[in-house]
C-alpha cells in the first residue's frame, strides 16, 4: 500500500496542487489571490501532462546512440530525423524517448493560461478603479447598497406621486 502511494508521488503532488488551487479560488475573497489560485490550478494540469509524457529512462526526443543515422554525414544533408531511420530500412527506434507531444500541447496551454491571467489582472485593475477595493465581498456589498438605495428612491418617488 505505501509502495503504491510512493510510486505515484508525482500524481499525489499534482492532486495536492490542484486542490490547493481550487480551494484558494473558492475560499479567498481577494481577487488577486483568486487569480493566484487559478494559476496554481492550471499549473497542476500542466504538470499532469508533462508527467504523462515521461517514460522511465527516456531521454529528450532527439535521435541519438543506436538510432543516430549513419547516413547523416557531416553536412546533415540527408533526410532528417525519424524519416532517415525509416529510410535506412530500420523499423522503430532502439533507444527510449519521452513523448514530445504533451510538452508541445502544454506550451500552448501555458500561453492560454498567461493570456487568461493577463485579462484577469486587467479586470482587477478596472474593478479597483471603479469600486476602490479588490475584495469580492466588499464589491458585492457596494452593489447591494447601490441597488437598495435605488429601490428606496423609487419607493419615495412613488409615495410622493
Amino acid at each position: 500500500m505505501t509502495e503504491f502511494i510512493i510510486e505515484r508521488a508525482n500524481y499525489w503532488a499534482i492532486i495536492a496542487l490542484m486542490m490547493v488551487g481550487l480551494y484558494i479560488i473558492f475560499a479567498s475573497q481577494n481577487l488577486i489571490k483568486r487569480l493566484v489560485g487559478l494559476s496554481i490550478f492550471q499549473t497542476s494540469v500542466f504538470l499532469f501532462y508533462i508527467t504523462l509524457s515521461k517514460i522511465a529512462g527516456g531521454s529528450a526526443p532527439i535521435l541519438y546512440g543506436r538510432d543516430y543515422p549513419k547516413s547523416y554525414g557531416d553536412d546533415h544533408s540527408a533526410a532528417p530525423g525519424y524519416d532517415a531511420v525509416l529510410a535506412a530500412g530500420e523499423v522503430g527506434v532502439k533507444e527510449v524517448y519521452s513523448n514530445p507531444l504533451p510538452h508541445v500541447l502544454i506550451l500552448t496551454a501555458i500561453v492560454v493560461g498567461v493570456s487568461t491571467l493577463a485579462v484577469g489582472l486587467a479586470l482587477v485593475v478596472r474593478i479597483r478603479e471603479s469600486y476602490g477595493t479588490i475584495e469580492a465581498d466588499e464589491v458585492r456589498d457596494i452593489d447591494m447598497g447601490v441597488a437598495a438605495a435605488e429601490e428606496d428612491e423609487d419607493a419615495a418617488q412613488r409615495a410622493s406621486a
Binding site: 504523462l52 492560454v112 487568461t116 479586470l123
Partner: protein, 508 residues
C-alpha cells in the same frame, strides 16, 4: 438550387472553405485593431462575418451533396490522426451556419448600440475582440482535434471576458461579472483539458474520430471514465448546464447590448455542440457509464434547469436578467432532448437549439433597442413602450410568443418535437414538466408584455422613440424567421434530423 450554388462558387473557395471560415475573421481581427476608426472596423467585421457565412453555406451544401456527408480538411497537409483535422458533418455544418448567420445579423445591428455604449477610441478594438470571439466559436465547431478544440474554446472565452467587461461604461457591475465569468470559464476549460489529457493517456491520440475508434476496446477503463467526467463538467460549465450556470445571468445582464445578442445566440450553443460531439461521437451512448449518465445526470439536470430557472426568471425585475435565466432554462430543454439518447430526442434538442437562437437573438435585439433609446432595462422602464415604439415591441412580442411556444411560432415546433420525443420514451411526467415550464414562461414573458402594452409610461418626461433602422431590420428578419419556421419548419427540421442521424450513425 444546392448544385447551382456549388457550381457558381469559385474553386478555391470550394476546396478551402473549412479553414477560410476560421482564418478570415482571425486575420481581420488585428486589422481592426490597427485601424483607428470604429466605423471602418465595423465594415471590416461585416465583411469578415459575411465571408464566413458564405463559407458556412458552402460547407453545408458540400456536406449535403458529398457521399457519406463528411468533409475532412488536413491542415498544413499533415494527415490525421497525426495532423490537426477540420472535420465537418451535418451537425457541424448546422452549428457553423448558425454561428456565422448570427455573426452577420448581430454585427450589422451593432453600430448604433456600440456607438452609444463604447467609448470612441475603443470601438475598433471592440470589433477586433468580437472577430476573435467569432474565430474561436467557429473553430470549436469545426475542429476534429480534441486539444485544438480546447485552444479555440479559450480563444473565444478570453475574447468574451473582454467583451463582457466593456459593458462597464454603462454599468460598472459588468466588471465583477466578467471577472466571475473568467474564473468559472477558466475552471471549466481546465477541467476539459484534464479530461482530454486522460483520454490521451488512455488512447494515445487526440483526433476525435481516432479516439472514438479506440475507445470500445477500453470499455470499463477508469481512466476513460475519469476523462468522461472531467469533460462533461468542463463543457457543462461553458454551456451553462444547471447548476453550473451561475456566471451567466450577470454576464448577460451587464454586457454591452451587441455582445449579449451575439453570445446568447451562439456561445452556449457552441459549448452544447461540443458536449453533443463528445457524448455521441467520441464517447458512445452504448458505454454503460455514459448510458447511466443520461438518465441519472442529464435528464434530472435538464428538467431542474427548466423548472428552477423559469421560476427564477419570474421574480426578476430586470428584463435582461429575466431573459438570461430563461436562457438557462432553455438549455435545460436541449439537455433533456439529448439525454433521451434517441434520434428524435437529439433532433428535437438540436431544433430547439436553433430556434432558441432565433428567439433569444430577437428578444435581446429588441431590448438593445430599448437600452439605446431609453437607457433602462428594468420592467418599469418598459412600461408603455408598446405605444411609443410599436415596431420594436411587436417584434419583441412575436419572439416572446415563440419563447413561450405558441402555435405558429418556431418555439412551438421545437417544444412539440420535444414532447413527441419524450412521449416516445413513455416519460409522461417529463412531458408534464415541459408544459409546466412553458406555463412559467407565459408568466415571466407575460409580465413584460403587460408592462409594454397595457401600462402607462412610467416616466412620461423621458423621450420614447423607435429604435434606428439598422436595429429594426435584423430584428424583424429574426422575428419573421420565428414566424416562418413556425409555419414551415421543414428547413430546420431537415437540418436537425440529418445532424442527429449523422451523429448517431457515425458512432456505431
Amino acid at each position: 438550387m444546392i448544385e447551382l450554388f456549388l457550381t457558381l462558387a469559385p474553386d478555391w473557395a470550394l476546396r478551402h472553405a473549412a479553414p477560410l471560415l476560421v482564418v478570415i475573421p482571425m486575420m481581420c481581427a488585428p486589422l481592426c485593431v490597427f485601424i483607428p476608426s470604429g466605423r471602418i472596423a465595423w465594415f471590416i467585421s461585416i465583411l469578415a462575418s459575411a465571408l464566413s457565412l458564405f463559407m458556412a453555406l458552402l460547407l453545408l451544401a458540400q456536406v449535403q451533396t458529398v457521399p457519406g456527408g463528411q468533409i475532412s480538411y488536413e491542415l498544413g497537409g499533415w494527415e490525421p490522426p497525426l495532423g490537426i483535422e477540420f472535420a465537418v458533418d451535418a451537425l457541424n455544418a448546422t452549428i457553423l451556419l448558425l454561428v456565422a448567420a448570427f455573426g452577420v445579423l448581430a454585427v450589422v445591428f451593432s453600430w448604433p448600440t456600440v456607438a452609444a455604449e463604447v467609448r470612441a477610441e475603443k470601438r475598433a478594438m471592440f470589433y477586433g475582440a468580437y472577430l476573435v470571439c467569432f474565430t474561436g466559436l467557429a473553430g470549436v465547431a469545426i475542429t476534429g482535434d480534441a486539444f485544438n478544440m480546447f485552444v479555440f474554446l479559450e480563444i473565444s472565452s478570453i475574447a468574451t471576458y473582454v467583451l463582457v467587461a466593456l459593458g462597464a461604461s454603462r454599468d460598472r457591475r459588468a466588471l465583477p461579472a466578467a471577472f466571475n465569468y473568467l474564473v468559472m470559464g477558466t475552471i471549466g476549460a481546465t477541467f476539459f483539458v484534464i479530461g482530454v489529457g486522460f483520454l490521451y493517456a488512455a488512447t494515445g491520440t487526440l483526433n476525435m474520430a481516432d479516439i472514438a475508434t479506440r475507445l470500445p476496446e477500453l470499455e470499463g477503463s477508469r481512466t476513460v471514465q475519469a476523462a468522461f467526467a472531467f469533460i462533461i463538467v468542463g463543457l457543462g460549465l461553458k454551456a451553462a448546464m444547471w447548476p453550473l450556470h451561475q456566471w451567466l445571468p450577470n454576464a448577460y445582464a451587464y454586457s454591452p447590448s451587441f455582445v449579449v445578442v451575439f453570445l446568447s445566440a451562439t456561445a452556449t450553443k457552441v459549448a452544447l455542440y461540443a458536449l453533443i460531439r463528445f457524448l455521441f461521437t467520441v464517447f458512445s451512448p452504448e458505454f454503460a457509464f455514459e448510458g447511466a449518465s443520461f438518465g441519472m445526470l442529464f435528464m434530472p439536470l435538464g428538467i431542474a434547469a427548466m423548472v428552477v430557472c423559469s421560476f427564477q426568471a419570474v421574480f426578476q425585475t430586470d428584463v435582461r436578467r429575466t431573459l438570461a435565466y430563461s436562457s438557462v432554462a432553455q438549455v435545460g430543454y436541449m439537455l433533456l432532448g439529448l439525454s433521451l439518447g434517441t434520434a428524435i430526442g437529439l433532433s428535437a434538442g438540436l431544433l430547439h437549439l436553433v430556434n432558441h437562437a432565433l428567439m433569444k437573438g430577437a428578444l435581446f435585439m429588441a431590448v438593445a433597442g430599448v437600452v439605446l433609446t431609453y437607457q433602462g432595462t428594468t420592467l418599469r422602464d418598459f412600461a408603455g413602450l408598446g405605444r411609443s415604439a410599436p415596431w420594436t415591441m411587436t417584434a419583441f412580442a412575436i419572439a416572446a410568443l415563440s419563447l413561450i411556444g405558441v402555435p405558429l411560432t418556431a418555439g412551438f415546433q421545437s417544444k412539440f418535437a420535444l414532447l413527441v420525443a419524450v412521449q416516445d420514451q413513455g416519460l409522461w411526467w417529463a412531458a408534464l414538466l415541459i408544459v409546466f415550464a412553458s406555463v412559467l414562461a407565459v408568466i415571466y414573458m407575460g409580465r413584460i408584455m403587460e408592462a409594454v402594452f397595457f401600462k402607462p409610461p412610467h416616466n412620461p418626461q423621458k423621450i420614447h422613440k423607435e429604435a434606428p433602422i439598422t436595429i429594426l431590420v435584423p430584428l424583424w428578419i429574426l422575428a419573421l424567421a420565428n414566424l416562418y419556421f413556425g409555419i414551415d419548419a421543414s428547413f430546420p427540421i431537415g437540418l436537425a434530423d440529418s445532424a442527429a442521424s449523422a451523429v448517431l450513425g457515425g458512432g456505431s
